[in-house]
């Protein structure tokens, strides 16, 4: 088992200035890792909330620091924004007495396929995958061509297993768009799993509108009594909408796995 009493773990999330639930899973995973006593210090940092990426390294005292982005995509944030804001220059950055180790984002982890399939089965119990179009929903962005890659890779892996009649990746900000599902999905059942780290603004408030299951953005998830009222009847199909994949408690293990993977690749 991983044991790093002399190291700090920084888990980086996006956070939000408007949605109170965006940072919640990142804090939950940090609390779980803290509870296990694996690291001497465990802290979170956010792009849009506090502590910020510009503050966080002042909050840890260990000289050995692992940074794990709690992001799905290896894209704009993990390749550009986080390194710039943390002032890290590569996989390993030395600064004064400190060694900062920049790990892979959680979304790159091999267990993501298993977690997505588990979420999909859980949200639509008793529904045959053979009569189901599975939608893996990502953000996507024109700012970085890699942004949608994590979704596309999962779509390929899940399609190759042949369990679901169809598997599609759809995006908020690149083609095919979430709203296109009616055109591309042919099955009577639709299962939509947001490949997002939290039930924040996008997965809880924006995407339901794009899918057609809400007429306008609802309140934040934490302000609603129930999660969702599956299945929804939309365009003559039954549509099941899942909670964001990052709310899965197993993400704490995935974060620790990314640290272990870093160590095995770069010989800690």
């Amino acid at each position: 088992m991983l044991s790093k009493p002399d190291s700090a773990l920084v888990i980086v999330g996006h956070g939000s200035t408007v949605n109170p639930d965006s940072a919640t899973p990142t804090f939950a995973h940090a609390d779980e890792i803290k509870r296990r006593g694996v690291f001497g210090e465990v802290v979170c940092a956010f792009w849009k909330e506090e502590p910020s990426l510009r503050q966080v390294l002042y909050t840890v005292e260990s000289d050995d620091v692992y940074v794990v982005p709690n992001f799905i995509s290896e894209g704009y944030f993990t390749q550009k924004v986080i390194p710039r804001e943390l002032d890290v220059t590569g996989k390993v950055t030395f600064r004064r007495t400190r060694k900062i180790k920049y790990c892979e984002p959680v979304g790159n982890h091999p267990r993501m396929t298993e977690l997505l399939l588990h979420r999909a089965a859980e949200v639509a119990p008793g529904i045959s995958p053979r009569e189901t179009s599975l939608l893996i929903i990502g953000h996507g962005t024109s700012l970085n061509e890699n942004s949608g890659a994590a979704v596309k890779e999962q779509v390929q892996r899940i399609a190759a297993r042949g369990d679901y009649a169809e598997v599609f990746g759809v995006f908020m900000e690149e083609e095919p768009f979430v709203t296109d599902w009616r055109k591309i999905a042919s099955q009577p059942h639709i299962v939509a799993v947001p490949f997002f780290v939290s039930d924040g603004l996008h997965s809880y408030q924006d995407i339901p509108v794009l899918l057609g299951i809400e007429a306008e953005p609802t309140q934040a998830a934490s302000k609603m009594d129930v999660f969702r009222r599956n299945p929804y009847r939309v365009a003559g199909r039954s549509l099941f909408y899942a909670s964001a994949i990052g709310t899965e408690p197993l993400f704490a293990d995935v974060i620790l796995d990314q640290v272990a993977a870093f160590d095995s690749e770069f010989a800690a």
Binding site: D31, W47, E49, E50, S52, Q55, Y58, E61, K80, R84
Partner: protein, 211 residues
Amino acid sequence: MTKTHSQIETLLAALLQRGVNRIGEILIRGEFELLHHADADRSDLQFFNNPEDAREIAKYDESGNFRPLKTAPNLRCGWKLVLRDLHELREALDCFYPAMPGVLFAHECSALEVVDLRETLNRQTGMYAVTKKISNKQANELIAGFCRSDNGCLKTILWRIDANTPVTSLPPCKFDPAANQLGQSVLAIPLLCHEACNLLVAAARNKVKSE
């Protein structure tokens, strides 16, 4: 798991020892009871005893609105958080006022790197790249409204607009770590702003785009 006191915890202990028992809107009593300073005489406070409870207390204001800026002067009243030791105190303060104990420690050790606003804005990309265009006059106007201690933010500003341009739209006490930003005479542990936050950068974007 309680470990040996960190240097940051030792700094907090030294400040409390000297009687500096206020931080932002919080009053620290004894070892260690935290409450809103305005609740000092109340006996009907809701009791909490876990440092992580601070995160929930700090999440919404009195009206139930999300508080994205934890140093905004709108921490809700009506609670009391009792903690077992210095380590828990530090954890709770890091929830109420994220990073502030560590940033203060770095400042005390002369290890805090202060970054002027222009440098922050000039490195922005994507949707925030446009903030480079803000004029010094616009920046001063923005800061006057956004960072003011009475209804913006309780941090003490350490940065300038650029090396030759101080912020001139707020009173001198806004830049003095020894000043209590609530305008009170009691000493307070300062909340230090060594670089413009993302909220100010986002506001700068709106300012540039709206004018």
